[in-house]
Symmetry: C2
Subunit: 102 residues, 2 copies
Amino acid sequence: MSDDLRGLNDLDRLIHEPARLLIVTILSAAASADFLFLQREAGLTKGNLSAHLSKLEEAGYVKIEKTFKGKLPLTVCKLTAKGQKAYTAYRQQMQMFMDKTG
Amino acid sequence: MSDDLRGLNDLDRLIHEPARLLIVTILSAAASADFLFLQREAGLTKGNLSAHLSKLEEAGYVKIEKTFKGKLPLTVCKLTAKGQKAYTAYRQQMQMFMDKTG
DNA sequence: TAAATAGGTTTGTAGTACAAACTAGTTTGC
DNA sequence: GCAAACTAGTTTGTACTACAAACCTATTTA
């Protein structure tokens, strides 16, 4: 164990946070998801989800579009190219860690 | 993606934190390590390492013994059975996630 | 005996996740 | 027609967190 594991220290904390990892994973597979779908799927409270989405949006990882479904507000989220890239990089780093220390 | 990934929300945050994941990984392989070895290996500042070790100790994941090497203080850390178990569980959960979403 | 070094710990700060409380609009009950 | 309950979120308050800078105590060196 004189291996270089310090790469862990460079993990993207935005994605490392479990709730956001969950969100990004779902978006990565779904191409597009609305707020309530995400909430159910991820098992988060509205407030929590809202806050996490804002962070992902600020980082440019997620694009958020507010429209209407009939007369009710509808928030649709997509992973951006940047977000997809960050997600992929995170997975690679984590898999690297798992492999090295398996 | 209607899979159950919500398990991510149950990740042990104590181990999920990259710096501590690093520490625990090193301890898991080394059986015993002193403070400065850990510091070098993990690439952490003393203050940061000290704080993380205290947390791991409070959780019962790490046993810390303070002795002397000659006349200088020497802090030796070992992973406890509880810590090893938590580490293994964390790895399993993370690997499960990686596999499910590969 | 002053200054530097070793091996840490404590403290201050900025940032974080989370749920409770709130907002703005819509539908339902009476 | 208007109050109550619901929908779809956002904002706010709180308690926790990671981190490095400053500190501490003892030892070694100049």
